[in-house]
């Protein structure tokens, strides 16, 4: 094998030798096969969404290679008209996804960067403990907070007969979803941004204080600009997290076209659309196209944000 000949001529370090034995023709074949397997289902989805209803019902999507006859009409139908037995298109849900995701990214980003700055640079007694508590809150899974939070949003908070918080009539608005996403994002966001903000050069901060700048001024004109890369990574992570979320949306938005995002609607339709695969695939592709664009255009930030956020609760 080629491994042997090259190990005689050039003494490779051990790890490289391992890599070599894996990067044999067999290894390469393995990678190619897995990559094709991993890509094919998504391609099948796209292909099906572009075929005529009759073609989709009668033959598999792989026939596009021999009979490439593609149309965009499924997208128009699914967006604006709905389908068999399902009234209304997906357009309102697509809009809801966007209307939920953007504020649910901005709110936690701003609040977490403020909190992280205070914890890192406005030291006070107990600030370390507070940071640790926030950090530890990352272990709480979403599921632990859903029932009480929903009760709070719909019924207010009471201690015995004393009303701590009145019930807000928030049903049919985005507010509960925004709030829930903001609350659940904070522990991770504060932790990540604190790591970044606490690394800013001390000299710079001290110079600003000597010049008489207030904390608010320092935060606006020094901290935020310098943190832009960290903020961007987290923003991308959070945006996609919210865009792709089903649990929070299902619990706090209900299923109506007024508030519910794409994920909620698609989960419903995957049961009821039954045979209309050309519509379901078009709908699914509409919901994944934005994450895919973000992924392929901002890959570096995306991967960084995702790796950092992989422990999110």
């Amino acid at each position: 094998m080629s491994t042997q000949t090259s190990s005689v001529t050039v003494p490779l370090p051990a790890v490289k030798a391992v890599r070599r034995s894996f990067s044999s023709p067999l290894g390469s074949l393995f990678v190619v096969v897995v990559t094709v397997l991993w890509t094919l289902p998504t391609f099948g989805l796209l292909a099906t969404s572009l075929r005529h209803q009759q073609d989709v019902a009668d033959s598999g999507w792989w026939n596009v290679f021999t009979h490439p006859e593609l149309v965009l009409s499924n997208y128009h139908t699914v967006l604006f008209e709905g389908g068999f037995g399902v009234s209304g298109g997906l357009m309102p849900y697509l809009v809801n996804s966007l209307a939920i995701s953007v504020p649910a990214t901005v709110f936690p980003l701003v609040l977490a960067s403020m909190a992280a700055y205070a914890l890192a640079w406005v030291r006070f007694r107990g600030s370390d403990t507070l940071f640790f508590v926030i950090f530890a809150l990352q272990v709480v899974p979403l599921q632990m907070a859903l029932i009480p939070l929903l009760q709070l949003f719909s019924g207010g908070a009471h201690l015995g007969s004393f009303t701590v918080l009145p019930s807000f009539d928030l049903a049919g608005t985005y507010l509960p979803v925004w709030l829930a996403h903001t609350m659940f994002a904070l522990p991770l966001a504060i932790f990540l941004l604190h790591n970044f903000i606490s690394q800013l050069p001390r000299d710079l901060m001290e110079a600003a204080v000597v010049d008489g700048a207030s904390h608010f001024r320092i935060f606006r004109s020094i901290v935020l600009p310098l943190c832009a890369p960290a903020l961007a990574s987290f923003a991308i992570f959070q945006f996609l997290w919210v865009w792709n979320d089903l649990l929070v949306a299902l619990t706090f938005a209900g299923g109506t076209p007024d508030v519910a995002p794409m994920t909620v609607r698609l989960a419903q339709l995957s049961g009821s659309f039954g045979g209309r695969w050309e519509l379901l695939t078009a709908g699914a592709f509409l919901s994944i196209i934005i994450p895919l664009i973000v992924f392929f255009s901002l890959q570096r930030y995306f991967v960084r944000g995702l790796l950092a956020g992989s422990v999110k609760g």
Binding site: F216, L246, T281
Partner: protein, 335 residues
């Protein structure tokens, strides 16, 4: 009178403009209030300067965390000891129900199966890919394509795979990829995949593996690249090579990362309810803990039982997350 297609599209665009306007308005309002608060609070000087700054910077986040996480956490534990409309104290009855009912047994068993199979397969595949893709041409392309499912929602992934698993009567033209492939390979009467228990459990797990393998690959690939050459030089001089080198040098060197990847995928697996919910709705023997918790709490409104299941989920996730976070912190401090 039914609306024409063009009118429907028109009203949809109007609706969109209003909703997005509201959403941007909320952001503008939020930032506007913050600016005003900053301006006012920034005028506080001297003795009040610092306390004001701390209150303004930390107040909102701490308040939201108390209302949104700390209080609900305590309340969920409290609710789990009460009956389903929270009027009576039940002691541990909800937990007893969760551990002794047959249908929940099946759920816990499935969850355990998911926890054991999906993370191990995803991590193993990811490791093999990380090793094999090294030094290949077009390396970045392969990595992106395998990583791509990570960008897609679990709902989207479920629909993609539900279509792959679509099965028709034998003899009819198949439109699902899996049926078509196995029939071409000579399996005359393949089962209706999604309905066939326990096979369907594994087919659902395949979706999770599809999503998580890219994550495992990227993280492990970085860890392998970080192994210092001189550390393993000695092993090679001692005559270790190929597979032996892999087992005795590479794996121990990346052990921490391997475990972190494994536990991370385990956490995702435990908490994910989207796949089961979208593909089978928990029917046909595929139910898992996270989806059962959702159904009990928000479909059947059994608040007590739902809370007990949430607490069980929390206790199952707790050691994994705690381990991960400690590792993450260690890495940060040593760097």
């Amino acid at each position: 009178m039914p609306l024409s297609g063009a009118q429907l599209a028109d009203s949809a665009w109007n609706d969109a403009a209003i909703k997005l306007g509201n959403s941007l308005g909320a952001i503008a309002g939020f930032l506007g209030i913050l600016l005003v608060v900053f301006f006012v609070a920034g005028r506080a000087t001297g003795r009040f300067g610092r306390p004001t700054a701390i209150a303004v910077f930390l107040g909102p986040a701490v308040l939201l965390l108390l209302v949104g996480l700390v209080a609900p956490l305590i309340r969920t534990v409290y609710l789990s000891f009460r009956n389903d409309d929270s009027t009576r104290f039940l002691g541990g009855k909800n937990y007893g129900w969760a551990l002794t009912t047959d249908s929940i047994h099946q759920v816990l068993l499935n969850t355990l199966l998911w926890l054991l199979v999906a993370p191990v397969v995803a991590t193993g595949l990811g490791l093999a890919l990380a090793l094999a893709v090294e030094r290949m041409k077009w390396q970045a392309l392969y990595k992106s394509l395998v990583f791509m499912p990570m960008a897609v929602s679990l709902v989207g992934a479920s629909i993609i795979w539900k279509f792959v698993y679509e099965a028709r009567e034998a003899g009819q033209p198949q439109i699902g990829l899996l049926s078509e492939v196995v029939i071409r390979l000579g399996w005359k009467h393949p089962p209706n995949w999604i309905l066939d228990h326990p096979l369907n459990d594994f087919l659902l797990m395949a979706v999770m593996v599809w999503v998580q393998t890219g994550f495992a690959m990227v993280v492990l690939s970085a860890a392998i690249k970080a192994i210092p050459d001189e550390v393993t030089e000695a092993a090679r001089l001692d005559g270790a090579g190929g597979l032996r080198l892999f087992w005795y040098v590479t794996v121990p060197m990346i052990r921490t990362t391997l475990v972190v990847v494994l536990t991370t995928v385990m956490i995702v697996t435990l908490k994910a309810f989207d796949i089961v919910r979208t593909m089978t709705g928990g029917n046909f023997g595929t139910q898992v803990l996270a989806n059962e918790m959702y159904s009990q709490s928000f479909v059947q409104f059994n608040v007590g039982r739902g809370s007990a299941l949430a607490v069980i989920l929390f206790l199952a996730v707790l050691p994994l997350v705690a381990y991960n976070i400690v590792q993450l912190r260690k890495e940060r401090t040593t760097r």
